[in-house]
Symmetry: C2
Subunit: 401 residues, 2 copies
DNA sequence: CTATTTAGTTCAACTCCACAACAATATACT
DNA sequence: AGTATATTGTTGTGGAGTTGAACTAAATAG
């Protein structure tokens, strides 16, 4: 039950009914493809005649195509409908501290081409090179009409302008990626932070997304980010910076965080924190000259963990403890049906899962309602999440009232 | 941008456009009354003819009435329209640990009659007496058609059944208030926890609600509750128990809370916590025989605070410190444009505000986006929030796609 | 080869909004 | 007093959309 926003509403015109039904049908095709007109009529409750008219329109606008004939024990064979993967493409860009990946996908977010480039220190040089790469991507498939470019960035994005306010791990401030790329490519561009992108990926493409209306994507890397979906939509807050659970203090008098607060969750449960755990453990136990100078990366620690290195195990388990503590907080505050964890640490998820879940169940009675799973990194959640930024524009509920 | 829920959608029929526009107009009348047809046409962008037809319908169904004529420098005088306060009434019930208040209001949530009763220990006896009182309320104004009964309760309410799962301060468990009252009164009943009710009150009736789409109601009493509005609607989570920020741990190894977690926010910032602070401070500073036996109530401490009692000041200031710490958490996680504080402590808000805001601004860079205000207790936020539970059913955005 | 079943199309009836013309008031100016 | 102007609210026609019934198309069972 949503209150009508009286400073920004849409009245209904004669065409509104069609718009609504069209979108419902387009979504049903997306999820249940291949599917026939008759099935759509049954699923929606619309008349077969209405469905046929809408399908005619969707085919004309090349959103969908007719495919093979179906099989039935009796009667005329139904003609199957699919999303048209030939025509419409979306470009996704996943900006990460070291490497930026980009891809051209079809409407099902299946990759057509991929590319990557190092993330330069200088944002302008980087955006320049990025737009070259985007152009190449498009040129390689000139027959594909491109719907737009979705960009996921590791930082805080302002709601109205979509400007990147601050990306701590890139050192970038106040970068207008949207404007730059729109000018360079003449395509619509949507920018959001990586956690929100991942949340959208789970909502639109996640295997567990059926029937999920409230979920949280938890990105664990140098810092911790969360993207929140409640009532089937992103929770952005006024600023667009809702979901900074990584900067909630879990220890009032803990270490000072770069955000100004003390004892933030990410000070305890991020990759960086774990690297610190490892270094300190190391320093204590050995003379440690070598260890201090060569700080291991989080990936190093993961490898050592797999090899059974006791210090790595201690560090990772400490991280898992704090991940659980923070996840309990997410559940207590949001009671989502799903929490998806994204990040390097998911590679050892099987081993840390018991620790995380124990901590969670000890700290909240609501734990049973929420599934906690690692994302499938092979599905490229960040990159395809950026795709979802564009895709959702065409598939969301119509702007009404 | 909301994803369409494919397991529970509404297709558009011919009548859908009318439904949408009708609701928009009804809401505009609610907010801007008195208002003329011509103004409505200008505000909505609908044709004057369409507006007239919709108004005719709304008058026929007695949602609104025509009132006086307006004044204009030129031309025909407009006829003003209002919500019809004669016809439709809503009953609100505010269940609190000691006293339960109830009222019959008009569509503007203005009280027509009020009543109250002590909250019995036995829930069944209580509901029995409550339904008698509700009947009396209705009988006193037999000409008013009653839309339903909204009930705000101090406890966790399950989403689907609206059963009261647990109310710690009442000792009630698994009470089906909705079913009982619906059977007893034959009216639709909506039950939700007090914090959610308060949040709805602010959304629908709050003075600061214009342009507010994301807000949090913070109820501070024996425990701490939060009702969250994001994107113009309640955030309930799967269970319906989202918003239990009071049970987020702000100290990993803090005291055990009744919820099973340790160091919950409400262990530090609730009225009960403050009473504890006072008792302990007292014990230290004096011989304290008398003080230990007679534990003061929170209201006592508030009175002493106003009188300048140093121990009361210390206790309340400590409470304020922790309120600020928790509010910073709310802002970091949700970035709402408004946080409304409800509870006894608001009576000394002016004096604790600097402490709260200092703590908040030290702990989050997003602080400037969020207004933090005490509620106006004279507006009966809890009781009128219960009214909003029913009212919103008639005024929300239409169920579409 | 006919009956039955299912898919998809065609067309008249109804609802709703847009647009334009018109009726109803009220004021300003001559 | 009379006319021009401005504004509100109503009436009537046309276009867009859905419904529902009738119809065509296609496939299988007997």
């Amino acid at each position: 039950m949503r209150k009508i926003n009286l400073s920004d509403f849409q009245i209904a015109k004669s065409e509104t009914a069609r718009d609504i039904n069209r979108r419902i049908i387009l979504n049903l095709i997306r999820i249940r493809q291949p599917i026939s007109r008759a099935d759509l009529a049954r699923l929606t409750g619309l008349q077969r005649s209405t469905v046929s008219l809408i399908i005619e329109q969707l085919i004309e606008e090349q959103w969908i195509t007719e495919g093979a004939l179906g099989h039935l024990p009796r009667g005329r064979k139904p003609r199957f409908l699919h999303l048209n993967n030939e025509r419409a493409g979306i470009i996704g860009v996943n900006v990460r501290p070291k490497l930026t990946t980009l891809a051209l996908t079809d409407l099902n977010a299946q990759f057509i081409t991929q590319d990557s480039l190092p993330t330069f220190e200088d944002p302008n040089e980087f955006l320049q090179e990025l737009s070259v790469r985007i152009k190449k991507l498009r040129d390689s498939h000139p027959q594909i009409f491109c719907e737009g470019i979705g960009v996921g960035v590791p930082g805080r994005v302002e709601r109205k302008t979509q400007k990147l306010i601050f990306a701590p791990n890139l050192g970038w401030r106040d970068i207008d990626i949207k404007e730059f790329l729109e000018n360079a490519t003449n395509l619509p561009v949507e920018v959001d932070n990586a956690a929100n992108s991942c949340a959208l990926f789970e909502l639109w493409f996640g295997k567990h997304s059926e029937g999920v209306h409230d979920l949280i994507a938890l990105t664990v890397s140098e810092g911790i980010g969360t993207g929140i979906i409640a009532n089937d939509q992103l929770v952005l807050g006024v600023s667009g910076m809702a979901g900074e659970f990584g900067h909630i203090s879990i220890n009032e008098n803990g270490d000072l965080c770069s955000c100004g607060n003390r004892g933030c969750w990410e000070v305890y449960a991020s990759n960086s924190a774990t690297v610190d755990y490892y270094s300190k453990t190391n320093g204590k136990n050995q003379t440690g000259k070598k260890d201090e100078s060569v700080k291991p990366t989080f990936e190093d620690i993961l490898r050592l963990f797999e090899l059974g290195d006791p210090k790595a195990i201690e560090s990772i388990e400490r991280m898992a403890h704090y991940l659980g503590l923070g996840i309990a907080m997410l559940i207590t505050s949001f009671s989502p049906s799903l929490i998806v964890c994204v990040g390097e640490v998911t590679s050892v998820w099987e081993k840390i899962e018991p620790i995380v879940k124990k901590e969670v169940s000890e700290r909240t009675p609501l734990a049973t309602n929420t599934k906690i799973i690692p994302t499938n990194e092979l599905a490229y959640p960040r990159l395809r999440g950026a795709i979802a930024l564009i895709l959702q524009k065409h598939f969301v509920a119509p702007p009404v009232a």
